[in-house]
């Protein structure tokens, strides 16, 4: 039996959509009402589309003050599922006795709390990362852990690929634990927080998105992969200096050593015996 009268999903992207579908399918079993909050502007509105298809009510609340007001005035017991969400729940919301919040974080907490965790995991040359579903408290990403799932960081993986892998793990974890959460019987593990805890901010940039051409090609490749979210401008474009000119890296690719093409705006750096790192660049500014 659910202890919650209402389930609110907030977030965007694939994980939010999958959570909405799962919560919707469980609605009859637990008899709660549900709603989706679209908070962030995105180029792809798949979660809203899913709500339309399933006839799940949704609200667009872009203003953070309005959002805080919405949550802090929750009158009935509700479960808030934060999935792919960047809104930080302030104390007035986390302290509302009617509101229980669970959040998906794309790292193995207490490692890499804050923003852009997949990027930092790649940049810091981690071999493994994962996801955490946890209860939300006032401190960022510090709440009790409900479930964690691990995955390998493979040598060529890019930030957006790792993010997608983590979203799939997130849904796996969510579907395993949802019934326990909604019935308030999920076993949790308290986080042991390091004394000096770095919380990564959205303004923190791996390597400042800059390298020198005499840095190791392995480092340069790792930096490029760590900040690679395609055309979604999470980070600035990576720059360096070449032949006394400021250049920006438009594209990069690991290619076979015999695949050199002499073309303007291309640089090749040796990664190992078999592969080169091909950089396509243009002048900056």
């Amino acid at each position: 039996m659910s202890i919650y009268e209402k389930v609110i999903v907030i977030g965007h992207g694939k994980i939010a959509g999958e959570v909405i579908e799962h919560v919707y399918k469980s609605q009859k079993k637990y008899n709660y009402s549900m709603v989706y909050i679209a908070h962030e502007k995105t180029s792809f509105k798949s979660a809203v589309g899913i709500c339309g298809r399933l006839h799940v009510p949704y609200y667009t609340i872009e203003d953070e003050k309005e959002l805080t007001c919405y949550f802090s005035h929750a009158a009935s017991r509700c479960l808030v599922i934060s999935a792919g969400n960047h809104y930080l729940f302030p104390e007035i919301v986390t302290e509302n006795p009617n509101v229980t919040i669970i959040n998906f974080h794309n790292a193995l907490l207490p490692e890499f709390p804050g923003r852009n965790a997949p990027s930092w995991a790649i940049f810091e040359n981690e071999k493994e990362t994962g996801i955490t579903w946890h209860y939300v408290m006032r401190q960022v990403d510090a709440g009790d852990i409900i479930i964690q799932k691990k995955c390998r960081i493979t040598p060529d993986i890019r930030a957006y690929e790792l993010t997608e892998k983590l979203m799939r793990l997130a849904y796996e974890g969510f579907s395993e634990k949802f019934d326990e959460i909604i019935e308030n019987r999920a076993m949790v593990k308290r986080q042991i927080l390091p004394v000096k805890r770095r919380i990564y901010k959205s303004t923190d940039i791996p390597g400042m998105c800059r390298f020198n051409l005499d840095d190791s090609p392995e480092y340069i490749y790792r930096l490029l992969r760590a900040v690679d979210y395609g055309k979604y401008n999470i980070f600035p474009q990576v720059t360096t200096q070449h032949q006394r000119k400021e250049i920006r890296i438009n594209r990069y690719r690991k290619v076979l050593s015999d695949a050199i093409e002499e073309k303007a705006g291309r640089l090749y750096l040796p990664l190992d015996e078999k592969y080169l790192l091909r950089l396509s660049w243009s002048e900056a500014g």
Binding site: K14, F44, I50, G52, R53, T163, G230, K231, Y232, N250
Partner: protein
């Protein structure tokens, strides 16, 4: 050009080519991550940069939309 685009779409997911609906994202065939892959492959195939302003759902929601987008971008370059 059209054939190259269709080949790339086929590599991403064959269902894109047979889809006759209005929106590949709502049908669950495409998502924002696959769009990143697709844009990267389009840039590699045509050896060009695709400006971020073009990476919107409306430009990728059907195979026809993707072809029209490439015609527009290549037309602007030429």
């Amino acid at each position: 050009m059209e054939e190259k685009v269709l080949n790339l779409l086929r590599e991403i997911d064959e269902d894109i080519l047979t889809f006759e609906g209005e929106n590949l994202f709502e049908a669950g065939i495409l998502d924002s991550f696959l769009v990143i892959d697709l844009v990267a492959e389009l840039e590699e195939t045509f050896d060009m940069e695709i400006d971020a302003k073009y990476v919107l759902e409306e430009n990728f929601k059907t195979k026809e939309a993707v072809i029209d987008l490439m015609k527009k971008i290549i037309g602007n370059i030429e």
